[in-house]
Amino acid sequence: MSEETFERDLRAALAMRDPGPAPAHLEAVVRQRLATDPRPRRLQIVATPLASIALVAAAVIIAIVVSRPIEVGPGSAPGPSTLPHQIAPGDGVVTDVPQPITQAVTALIACAVLFLTALQASRRRTRIGASLAALLILVVCVTIGTSDALGDAGMFGVTPTREPGEGETGAVLSVTGDDAFTVLVSLRNTSRLPLTILGIADGGTIEVGSGPGAMATLPRFAGVGFFPGMELNLATILPFHPRALDPGAEVHLALRGLAGTCAVATRPPSNDASYEIREVPLVYEQLTITHTQTIRFVESIHVPSRMPCP
């Protein structure tokens, strides 16, 4: 069949389907249909797929706003940059890690709306878009928090320390009583999303034994600040405030530790009389969801202690 014949037949076939003028009753039907329209519905905005998606976006934004702020220790506000800064107990300590209930509910509602939109939308593009958006939210909800976003950036240091004695390994503190020590930890955002470091989780005061006379605190981390560079110089420490980290960005944390009341500066009589610190719980926020990640040190920190502790 030639092109000309094909087009002629097609035009003729379409012309055959042309019914001519509209029947007289159609105008009356249309006018009646328009006249019976109820007043605009209050929720008519959600009747269209795009409006539904806009509603979901608005709900997510509200959830983000509602879920802030998170309680952080007294040093969380940006402080003066006067040097040197002394990290006080409680600086950057997150006392209450919120559960992402609002976000979970919002995500569920968003998924439900998007799936309904995908089912009801007449346009294929909208159906595909809504389905992908719902799947994306599900994937984010399932995967977020299951893998740690902070990785070691290579720098680690402790002060004050002494040379390890025979049989001692790692960094050995040289402090007495409940003196302070400082740990430098460099961390990198190894995830594909930005995050905000909120501080260290509140471990509370650890007590040993029970009953009168048996109370003693163990080594613990009591505050956090920043090192501006990778040099372990206590005079350069900056006060802590929640810090945003782009993917791949690094931060140098100054962890203030307290050695516990049983700590001794010299080698204790028994090699067993030593506490070991291997990790610190760090709190960060990503996509409005707060996580606590246990940061394991490159090498363990040993706190020689007197046993029995007075």
Binding site: M1, L10, A13, R17, D18, P19, A22, P23, L34
Partner: protein, 187 residues
């Protein structure tokens, strides 16, 4: 008059048109013939076309806030009619209609089979082949070969790129040819 086009004179606030229900119904009434014929050619059913036009009028009334100027009403309403027809065709696919075999009383070959050398039967075969097309393919063919709109006008009317219109036309005609060839071979 302040020299502006009449369509803009009635526009207020962000160039959107405010129309009373009666005025709107009058505008729709002016498009009934054209819309009804368009819907029938696309859908292939006059009865369904009536419903489609009524649905389109209702949808247009609900979405009247998107109408920028009354002189664009024809194109705007035509687009709504096409969209309603597309939805109906898709819904039809989800609820398959069992087609009753047609009884052909016109002249044909001695064994009762249609003779494709006859122009009437050729058009009938074309019409049957047209029914097998996807909704979007049907629509572009109708706009191009029945309404004689240019590719650019169709693109503007449907809100899609001109390249997409050309692609759909190409695929639609290709499928029509294939369908017609298969029918001829089966004979």
């Amino acid at each position: 008059m302040d020299g502006r086009p009449a369509a803009l004179v009635v526009s207020i606030g962000r160039n959107r048109v405010t129309l009373a229900a009666d005025d709107f119904a009058d505008l729709v009434a002016g498009q009934l013939d054209r819309s009804y014929r368009l819907a029938t050619v696309i859908l292939g059913s006059a009865m369904e076309a009536e419903d489609a036009v009524a649905d389109a009028a209702f949808a247009a009334w609900r979405g009247r806030g998107k109408l920028r100027a009354t002189d664009r009403f024809e194109a705007w309403f035509s687009r709504i009619v096409v969209n309603v027809c597309r939805d109906r065709l898709r819904a039809r696919r989800r609820r398959p209609v069992v087609e009753m075999p047609a009884v052909d009383v016109r002249s044909g070959s001695p064994d009762g089979e249609p003779d494709f050398r006859d122009g009437v039967h050729a058009r009938d075969a074309m019409s049957r082949a047209f029914e097998t097309l996807e909704p979007d393919e049907r629509i572009v063919l109708v706009l191009r070969f029945w309404q004689d709109l240019s590719v650019d006008t169709i693109a503007e009317r449907l809100g899609i790129p001109s390249g997409t219109v050309k692609s759909r036309l190409h695929h639609a005609t290709g499928r029509l040819r294939t369908s017609l060839t298969v029918r001829e071979v089966r004979r």
